[in-house]
Symmetry: C2
Amino acid sequence: MNTETKTAATPDTRTRIVRAASLLMQRQGYDGTGIKQIAQEAQATLGSVYHFFPGGKQELAVAAIHHGDQEFYDVLREALEREEDTARAIADLCDELADGLHASQWVDGCPITTTSLGTAGRAPDIQTAAAQAFARWRGLVRDRLRASGMSEGDAHDLAHTVISTMEGAELAAQVAQSKEPLRIAGKHLARLIALHQ
Amino acid sequence: MNTETKTAATPDTRTRIVRAASLLMQRQGYDGTGIKQIAQEAQATLGSVYHFFPGGKQELAVAAIHHGDQEFYDVLREALEREEDTARAIADLCDELADGLHASQWVDGCPITTTSLGTAGRAPDIQTAAAQAFARWRGLVRDRLRASGMSEGDAHDLAHTVISTMEGAELAAQVAQSKEPLRIAGKHLARLIALHQ
DNA sequence: ACACCACTGGAACGAACGCTCTATCCGATA
DNA sequence: TATCGGATAGAGCGTTCGTTCCAGTGGTGT
């Protein structure tokens, strides 16, 4: 029954596999990550991987994307709940992302972009999972903006730009190995939100 | 001497190899693209590839990134020269990018992100080339904003956000297979620029 | 006529890839 | 205690990877 839940010392084998796949594909992309490497990192064996993911590497990648999706969904939700002023919440989140990126020595960017980009025209399941993730994140921002009184249209459009810009700034920060793109993006997004409410 | 220049029917072998590498890595990433595939696509042989790029796949990837860098540099420069109002120039460029992305059936996004992301912590030469590209593009926008009378600080910051947001919106558009993220980003960037000048 | 050399062509190498397969383990149920 | 199926373990399959190596080929300078 259990597929993690408790804060247990050593999680499910399946959970360990998904976590390892998510982390490694986030860093190295789909083609750059081998199934054997995932198994080793997860302290599981090849047999276990194919037992839980009979669909092979693609099915595992989809699970990894869903994992990364939920991971950032929680971060985003907490950031929006923590601070009443949405503009400031987004700016603070950008700084938080910059700190996390720096702490990982600029390797752990968005948990799904690398996997998604590298499989663009050839793995529909992975693309669908990535599109769902982006839509969920946008929905979170849109609902928060709506709740603070913004019009439907403005909230919809701003949610798009907030996610797009955060995504692009994280990418730019990673490439430049600098917090500056994310810092500036946070400032400008806050300004843009304040302009509409 | 000549490494292309003329509008010749069939370009240099070296040029054909770089173009093929750039296009394939843009679509499939570094690890997803094989040297043999590049050679085939370029109508060259393995011997030729290693003749021109004795540094192997990494040296070829660096050349591919420089190629993609220059490619977008020209597009960006023309877009900024074509339209006097910088805000409108950026918005128009976003629409142009959306059309190009759609025309490629959502596979040809930014020519360097996929390659750069997939090699994040392990190929310094590639990272440096990608960082240079981003910096050159930002420089183009910053100079244009400065020329239209914007303050040094505002121009610097806005150039960052313009590139970050365009990058992120292109990514979002690719994943969602929709022009909407780029359209909205263009609108918001124009608004943000107008706000500062 | 010859020598030279940038360039082309492709066979071959060891390593790593995704995946299949069978054997074994082990806790729950009868 | 006997049985059974989910889970684990890893050898081995065919294929492809990046790279090396060397034998040609064709045009240029002498």
